[in-house]
């Protein structure tokens, strides 16, 4: 019997299996940031241990950092201390840090791929659930807790139960105005916020193959939002072209050797998946969420479900509670509804292609006067590219605020928050209660849909602006 892509990489990294217990998996690359690492550093020190393989860990500051005046000391004391702690810990334990002010600084899941640190066939972990992003390169990448960060520090391994494997095939051609964010929001709306719990997901099919690397990252990024341990896409020519010549990618002969190895990374034709889901690309339209988990999404022209349309009592209760929080009514249309904020950023949609999509909609237009628009590039390198392409001029002329790199209003750990009771169309990944600030109301959507709302001030079908 053939093997799945997941099994091929898992088996290659399997140090040993504990009988009636988890597997010991070797980790090729470990990313850390300021929020989920300090307790792991102090844990390892308390045990009198050294970091086992410090060269295999890379650090950046992203979660709590301000997105203005990054050259000045951080004003908020707790954030400043946390970032300082990361700096001290990295220095002490000889870990490479791309901190504030460094040209490589940025959201951890943006900088790994853009620096060529993320490569096919690797095992990659980080104390952040969106580590699944790196799976777009055909690697096993997943988020871990701080105790697990400490495990990697101590041994470059973690203990992990082998998950089941699911394949989601998206076949066909995408409609106009539909991008990768819509694909993943559509999938999650179909299978729910817990529909892939216990599974590792491989995305396949012609619609996935046709996507750029950055678009693939958006899809793998949100795997966790349906409960999946991670998501992955088999590497191909698109992957190799993206990775080639990046700073930490293999060079010359080593590159050729690696590519030959990477070409073997695919699920065999006779490989068996524990579950398989087929989706037609043509069915997918621009998506938007109306509730307080990413599974509560609809196409932009649909109405919010009515309470009567839901048979499961628990789900009905969830819907009522979500709509109450969101200030929405069952059965209503979202289109035309005023929004006060637009956030373009996060590890889901803050890469240069995302920003180009936004620019394509807004060029020559101005934002609606009632909307506050924040655009936060995923990294210093994305910000530099933004300027190099003149997109900054387009955004500034439209009245958008361009900020410096970080996680920003995706989770509101810094000053970038959505005020209580206000709506925000956000290109980020979570619409949980209070996610973007206490009382904030998040509508998740693609960069195109977010851009459209920035112009009109209301929830808009972007296709009406593209015509």
């Amino acid at each position: 019997m053939g093997k799945t892509l997941f099994e091929k990489i898992w088996e290659k990294h399997l140090v040993k299996s504990i009988p009636d217990g988890p597997d010991v998996i070797y980790i090729d690359k470990h990313f850390i940031h300021e929020v989920t690492s300090p307790q792991a550093f102090s844990g390892i020190e308390k045990r009198g241990q050294q970091i086992f393989r410090p060269l295999k860990t890379v650090a950046t500051a992203d979660h709590n950092v301000p997105t203005i005046n990054q050259h000045l000391p951080i004003v908020e004391e707790m954030s400043r201390l946390q970032v300082q702690k990361l700096l001290d810990n990295c220095k002490k334990h000889r870990i490479e840090l791309y901190g504030l002010g460094h040209p490589f600084q940025g959201i951890v899941h943006v900088i790994g791929p853009e620096l060529g640190i993320t490569q096919p066939g690797m095992t990659i972990v980080c104390g952040d659930s969106h580590t699944s992003t790196h799976g777009a390169f055909g690697s096993i990448a997943f988020g871990i807790g701080t105790s697990e960060v400490e495990m990697v520090f101590a041994s470059q391994c973690i203990l992990q139960n082998k998950p089941k494997v699911m394949r989601i095939n998206v076949e066909g051609e995408l409609n106009k105005g539909v991008v990768s964010k819509d694909i993943i929001l559509y999938i999650i709306s179909k299978i729910s916020a817990s529909g892939a719990t216990g599974y590792f997901v491989e995305y396949a099919g012609s619609a996935i193959r046709a996507l750029s690397m950055e678009a693939r990252m958006t899809i793998c990024n949100m795997s966790i939002e349906m409960g999946a341990r991670g998501g992955m896409i088999a590497p191909d020519e698109t992957t190799f072209q993206y990775t080639k010549n990046r700073l930490f990618a293999p060079k010359e002969d080593a590159w050729d050797e690696k590519v030959e190895e990477w070409k073997k990374l695919y699920s065999d034709e006779d490989a068996v998946f524990d579950k398989e889901i087929n989706i037609k690309a043509e069915e997918i339209e621009p998506m938007i969420t109306y509730g307080t988990n990413p599974g509560l999404g609809i196409t932009i022209n649909a109405n919010v479900p009515t309470v009567e349309s839901i048979s499961d009592e628990g789900e009905r209760k969830n819907l009522i509670k979500a709509l109450e929080y969101m200030g929405l009514t069952a059965g209503q249309s979202l289109k035309g509804m005023p929004v006060q904020n637009v956030f373009i950023g996060s590890c889901t949609n803050s890469r240069i292609e995302d920003l180009r999509l936004v620019a394509s909609v807004i060029k020559g237009r101005k934002k609606n006067e009632n909307v506050n628009v924040l655009i936060v590039p995923g990294s210093q390198q994305v910000a530099a590219q933004l300027s190099a392409e003149g997109l900054d001029v387009i955004f500034t002329e439209a009245g958008f605020k361009i900020r410096q790199a970080g996680c920003s209003a995706c989770l509101g750990m810094n000053e970038d928050k959505v005020p209580a009771g206000e709506y925000c169309i956000s290109t980020s990944n979570r619409n949980f209660e209070g996610r973007q600030g206490a009382g904030s109301r998040t509508l998740l959507a693609s960069p195109l849909t977010a851009a459209a709302a920035a112009i009109t001030g209301v929830v808009t079908d972007v296709r009406e602006l593209l015509n």
């Binding site: 009636d20 041994s155 719990t197 216990g198 989770l411 209070g434 206490a438």
Partner: protein, 194 residues
């Protein structure tokens, strides 16, 4: 990690599904660099109005003094979302040693186990039976036998936990002790990767 064996306690029912880790502990409270002290912000925005400790929401279960216990019982898909281990730390710091649900998110389950908080997954039917109990009823969780019992009726269910993790919890061992003990195997393995 402290060892965990049997727990008999009253419980706190939180009849919500899909409780994500942003609800368990909002991101703005993740700035501490120690593992302690997170309990006071557990379910922060469900507990207090306007983020003000002087304005507790009277209808939230943790604010009702008649509900007590070291067992939290919650709806399905508990702990989804962010990987923040702070969620497990805040539950433990508040005084919960067991969380009962009909379904747990993967990362939360690992984080809980790594901190001596036992996730007990029961059938939906059993969960509804617990929710239907009167306040003050007790549950007994026996890790050795892998059972959870409604003491008033004697109704019981078995729950899953792998033998390795069970041994860890019963004895207070953690995964890092184990990984350090096999370091030579790891060094040998690294040679095969090159």
């Amino acid at each position: 990690m402290k060892s965990l064996k049997n727990i008999q306690s009253t419980f706190i029912p939180l009849m919500e599904e899909n409780i994500d880790t942003d609800q368990i502990i909002p991101a703005r409270f993740l700035k501490s660099t120690s593992r302690e002290g997170f309990g006071k912000n557990l379910f922060r925005d469900w507990r207090y109005s306007h983020n003000d400790e002087a304005q507790p929401k009277a209808d939230f279960i943790l604010n009702k003094p008649e509900y007590k216990g070291s067992i939290l019982v919650a709806g399905k898909n508990f702990g989804c979302g962010s990987s923040r281990e702070h969620a497990a730390w805040s539950l433990l710091d508040y005084g919960f040693h067991v969380v009962v649900s009909s379904f747990f998110a993967d990362i939360f389950k690992n984080n809980a186990l790594n901190n001596g908080v036992l996730p007990v997954q029961v059938s939906d039917k059993f969960l509804q039976k617990i929710f239907a109990l009167e306040n003050g009823s007790t549950l007994s969780v026996d890790l050795e036998k892998q059972t959870i019992t409604i003491d008033a009726t004697g109704e019981q269910e078995k729950f899953d936990i792998n033998n390795y993790k069970k041994t860890c919890l019963l004895n207070g061992y953690d995964d890092i002790d184990y990984l350090l003990s096999i370091k030579q195997d790891i060094i040998n393995f690294e040679k095969t990767l090159a």
